[in-house]
């Protein structure tokens, strides 16, 4: 964050931006929330696999800590009624406590979707 502030001040010094624009930028830098990323994932991974006719076509690997950050941010934008009773926080807590293996499996005609915690 200090580097960003120095860059902004340099830009003012070089005449690239006005002091008013610099003030807005500095305010934007200060308003960044302190996202605390903990290692609560404990090295776990979320693996999303999609199969078509029994053949794997999509494989996505996400560190659990990334999923936690994404969910915490996403919950701010998704209305509660959209979740339809799904307790996302409870799901994440269960995963942190040690739940592993396949947590979601969707089998529809030719496609199969699996979400696995490893």
């Amino acid at each position: 964050m200090e580097n960003e502030k120095l860059q902004i001040l340099k830009m003012v010094q070089e005449g690239k931006i006005t002091p008013e624009e610099a003030a807005r930028l500095l305010q934007a830098v200060d308003s960044k929330p302190a996202v605390t990323t903990t290692s609560s994932g404990n090295g776990k991974w979320i693996r999303i696999r999609v199969q078509e006719h029994g053949r794997q076509i999509v494989n996505v690997n996400l560190p659990l800590s990334l999923v936690e950050v994404a969910i915490s941010m996403g919950l701010k934008f998704v209305p509660e009624e959209e979740l339809r009773g799904v307790d996302v926080n409870a799901l994440m807590e269960a995963i942190r406590q040690g739940v592993t293996g396949k947590i979601v499996e969707i089998d529809a005609d030719e496609h199969k979707v699996e979400i696995i915690v490893e």
Binding site: E21, S31, T37, I57, V58, N59, N61, A70, M73, K76
Partner: protein, 88 residues
């Protein structure tokens, strides 16, 4: 980070190396550009706070990807075409 693209029409794979620091810089620039850009170029459905929140979320997500070390983020293989994104 490596982006590996293979399409049936091409005999060779296309490998795009993307330096991780470059993504860091692009994300940092995004916040600066957002602060300077004229409001009319931004989606009207989102207010400034929401857009800033999205930018922060993307940066936080990228930080977590960096911390995870080397791994294959995405691997798509369909119809003879293959796209892989590997963080190395």
């Amino acid at each position: 980070m490596l982006c590996i693209i293979k399409v049936p029409e091409l005999r060779r794979r296309i490998i795009l190396p993307i330096p991780l620091f470059l993504v860091d810089e692009i994300l940092d620039i995004g916040s600066v550009v957002f602060s300077l850009i004229n409001r009319k170029y931004l989606p009207r459905e989102l207010n400034d706070k929401q857009i800033q929140g999205i930018l922060n979320a993307v940066r936080a997500a990228w930080r977590e990807i960096r911390r995870a070390g080397s791994f294959t983020l995405v691997d798509v293989n369909s119809g003879g075409a293959q796209v892989s994104i590997k963080v190395v």
